[in-house]
């Protein structure tokens, strides 16, 4: 018997004529790990809300179909009961915390259930111990890191002892280390403590292999429901992109077995190269900071920066970016990536050293002057959205700089697939669309240098590909892109140059090939081919090697 079952569920949000969930038939069995994948607006979050009992109780709207919990049909107000059996952790850790301290936050749900003191003490103490939060119990929730906040959100849900744990893109706002730690916890909860887990995720490299079942969604419908390996085959066949690189690679090769981890992938790859896979190709020397004759777009010399609180974040670093380059800055949280980007944008002025932006010292320029030549996209696209329509948002920038339209608005709206949404309110759009509006509102001023702070956060594979393609177009037409990201797969796919920063210092500045040699920042494909073939960073490159390159290399040994 399924723990939770949806039968022919169709759901419309209030005022909407298009269903957000359409004919959903889904059974969730006790102890199962279910992974839900799909693009933005495919209905994943609506499905999560349905399972958690928030639809239609919180959102209103119209729901058709039947919902069963432990074989018993839940009708009308009874769906409210799901709240106490299903716990949900949302995407943004910032917005799901209510109380000011960690301990009070964990107790909040228990207070709502009206539990007695002693029971609350026990549950809070157990959860804090299990999640290693005891040292943070009196800490202000606003002072916690993103990973800690998400852990607290998970703790507050676990304290309520739910039967099903729904996680709606819980790692989308976290850096890879925090995301990895969080997913390790989820794996432990499922495998050792027997929790039933429904995970909705965009970053699949760390979680695809954890699932017992993968559900692929599109336009509110479940398009495929099966094992992760079969789902990979199905997705490749039907041109769906929601597969991690290793699985995509083997599914694209039409390999019967689709390994889901790098370890299993390497074993499978060994079958293609049985001779001596451990022999490395002759190493190509990685050339750092190649000198070319292009004009310098931005040059930072001996930068030092300390925040007013006294924390020294950038320590004597220099960096040179030439026109037409696509540079990606990688590094752990609090390594100084965003600070470096803000220094390059002129938002922050260095304490010592200087930044020359297109030949001009940022010390001497106001932010408004810099805005004509620098486009800066912050982590939060909502900072850009204040007008009533998408089109007005672009005109707002033009008017501030007193620039004529000359058809640039329409051109950008077309390029960024926003033309049909030009009369829509930007706040009514999805997160991916909002980000494109923010990008358009920056690009409309015609900046020669584009600085982006984690633009792929929360984007699905399809939207990432669109963004990557667009940024490549910009660099191809002579523009320069500098981007801070945690997304090594994106960096491997699109970047020309990679800068790694650690504790305020640049530890690596070279072409994208450096990713292949990296211990931690190597993309999945590089780890798969390590020791077999050099220079493979993406699925495309892997397939190319398999169709000739790598085989030739092996034969030549």
């Amino acid at each position: 018997m399924a723990l939770l079952e949806n039968q022919d569920i169709t759901y419309y949000y209030p005022g909407s004529t298009k269903p957000s969930l359409c004919n959903i038939n889904l059974k969730i069995r006790e102890g199962e790990f279910l992974l839900v994948v799909g693009g933005s607006g495919s209905g994943k979050s609506s499905l999560a809300r349905l399972i958690a009992g928030l639809i239609p109780e919180f959102y209103g709207g119209r729901l058709q179909g039947k919902l069963f919990f432990q074989g018993k049909e839940l009708r009308g107000d009874e769906r409210h009961l799901l709240n106490s059996h299903v716990g949900i952790v949302f995407q943004d850790p910032e917005k799901q915390l209510v109380m000011t301290s960690v301990e009070a936050e964990i107790a909040f749900g228990l207070e709502n259930l009206g539990l007695p003191q002693q029971e609350m003490f026990r549950r809070v103490a157990e959860v804090m111990t299990f999640l290693n939060l005891t040292s943070l119990k009196d800490e202000f929730t606003t002072n916690l890191s993103g990973g800690e906040k998400q852990k607290v959100a998970l703790a507050s849900v676990l304290a309520m002892q739910p039967r099903i744990l729904v996680l709606d893109e819980p790692t989308s706002q976290l850096d890879p280390v925090a995301a990895g730690e969080f997913l390790d916890l989820v794996e432990y909860l499922n495998k050792e403590l027997g929790y039933t887990v429904v995970l909705i995720e965009q970053r699949l490299e760390r979680c695809y292999h954890l699932a017992d079942r993968a559900v692929v969604m599109e336009q509110g419908e479940i398009r495929y429901d099966g094992s992760p390996a079969d789902a990979a085959h199905w997705q490749v066949k039907h041109h769906f992109p929601f597969i991690p690189p290793v699985a995509k690679f083997f599914a694209s090769l039409n390999n019967a077995a689709v390994p889901l981890t790098v370890r299993d992938g390497r074993r499978e790859l060994h079958k293609y190269f049985p001779d001596d896979p451990s022999v490395e190709n002759p190493k190509r020397s990685v050339q750092l900071s190649p000198v070319n004759n292009k004009t310098t777009a931005v040059e930072a010399k001996n930068l030092w920066y300390t925040y007013p609180g006294g924390r020294e974040v950038i320590r004597g670093q220099s960096l040179c970016v030439r026109e037409g380059e696509f540079v990606v800055i990688l590094g752990a949280n609090a390594a100084g990536k965003t600070t470096l980007l803000k220094l390059l944008a002129g938002i922050l002025k260095p304490d010592r050293g200087c930044v020359h932006l297109l030949g001009q010292d940022t010390h001497r320029l106001s932010l408004t002057d810099l805005g004509r030549s620098v486009g800066y996209l912050s982590q939060n696209p909502n900072d850009y959205l204040l007008q009533d329509t998408v089109e007005d948002e672009l005109r707002f920038t033009l008017n501030n700089f007193q620039l004529p339209d000359n058809g640039i608005c329409d051109e950008l709206l077309h390029k960024l697939n926003l033309y049909d949404l030009r009369h829509a309110n930007p706040r009514d759009l999805s997160s991916g669309e909002r980000q494109r509006v923010a990008l358009a509102s920056v690009l409309v001023a015609g900046p020669r240098l584009l600085l982006l702070d984690e633009p792929t956060r929360g984007l699905d594979y399809r939207l990432k590909a669109e963004l990557g393609g667009f940024l490549r177009e910009i660099t191809a037409s002579g523009g320069t892109v500098v981007m801070v990201t945690h997304d090594v797969e994106f960096a491997a796919e699109y970047a020309g140059k990679v800068v790694m920063i650690f504790d305020g210092m640049v530890v690596c500045d070279g072409p994208r090939d450096v990713l292949g040699d990296s211990i931690f920042y190597a993309p999945q494909m590089a780890r798969l081919f390590r020791g077999t073939a050099q220079g493979v960073l993406t699925v495309g490159e892997g397939l190319e090697r398999m169709s000739g390159g790598a085989l030739n290399v092996c034969q030549s040994r």
């Binding site: 919180f58 609350m120 309520m160």
Partner: protein, 308 residues
């Protein structure tokens, strides 16, 4: 300044006192200067406040408030003699002014201004110290036992302040890079530019509040009768603290009712009665100082730490 609003746990004695005990102590520190008019009494409580700041290692947190308080106090001290034309002991006669007549500065007005300045400083110190040593969640948890909706609102607002401050900074940077120059234009134009900033903050806050409400409902908020979580232990130090605060408050009120803590500035300064009125003050200060002595002992004397 906003950063100073955040409580920082330092593990000090004053931070480790039961909420009821610390609230009682701070009630005494706040109410006594409000009812006292006698300059010696005001000075006495003021000095206890300063000592408490030092003993609780809260100087860094309180300093911005103290600096602001000094300016306001000096302003009050200077403004009172200029505006208030009462007092028999005139020190300076000025020119004839319309409506208020002949301008004059009296000794009584100067003294009253100085006393009010000290009172203001004492109240600011009490607030700054409260902010530095009392964990807001402990207070909201305490209040939530009888007013949980109000305490929840306070908690949500407290969480929102640093978030809004961060969002404001980020939105301002973004707008400047989109060509909005906040430093130029007429007053009306600047007002319009700042209204854009407010619009971004308002829209983002509204969206954020919807997400928070959803998370609250998912955790059973409003599903039925609520209980209240509190996990505070009661130690000997809490009794000392509570008794000190409540005794100081009661004796202070008695001194005020008996007229010892009252001082008339106008039309002529009262004369100081001498020893009898000061005995009450000594007892009040002694009561208020006991927790500070314990705090010092707790820090420097491990044996005492284990006993209280």
């Amino acid at each position: 300044m906003l950063e100073q609003l955040s409580y920082k746990s330092k593990g000090t004695f004053l931070q480790n006192v039961h909420t009821i005990a610390s609230l009682t102590y701070f009630a005494a520190l706040l109410l006594l200067p409000l009812i006292f008019t006698h300059p010696f009494y005001l000075l006495g409580v003021f000095l206890v406040g300063i000592m408490a700041v030092v003993v609780s290692d809260s100087a860094a947190e309180c300093m911005p408030f103290l600096v602001m308080g000094i300016w306001v106090a000096v302003f009050v001290m200077l403004l009172n003699p200029l505006i208030v034309q009462h007092g028999n002991t005139v020190l300076i006669y000025g020119p004839e002014l319309p409506v208020i007549g002949r301008f004059r500065i009296s000794l009584e007005a100067i003294c009253y201004g100085a006393a009010m300045g000290v009172r203001l400083m004492t109240i600011i110190i009490a607030f700054a110290l409260y902010n530095a040593v009392v964990h807001p969640d402990k207070v909201t948890a305490f209040v939530s036992r009888f007013a949980w909706k109000s305490s929840l609102v306070v908690s949500l607002v407290t969480r929102m302040i640093p978030t809004i401050a961060r969002d404001l900074c980020s939105a301002r940077e973004v707008m400047q890079l989109r060509g909005v120059d906040f430093s130029t234009g007429t007053f009306r134009e600047r007002l319009k530019k700042y209204s854009w900033l407010m619009e971004v903050l308002l829209l983002s806050s509204l969206e954020g509040s919807l997400a928070t409400a959803e998370a609250m409902q998912a955790r059973g908020f409003g599903s039925g009768r609520r209980s209240s979580y509190h996990r505070e232990l009661v130690r000997p130090r809490d009794y000392f603290f509570f008794l000190s605060g409540i005794t100081a408050l009661i004796i202070g009120i008695c001194a005020w009712l008996k007229g010892y803590a009252v001082f008339a500035f106008y039309p002529k300064l009262d004369s100081f009665a001498g020893g009898s009125e000061l005995i009450w003050l000594v007892v009040i200060i002694f009561c208020l100082i006991i927790p500070l002595i314990l705090s010092w002992g707790w820090k420097h004397w491990p044996y005492l730490r284990t006993r209280i």
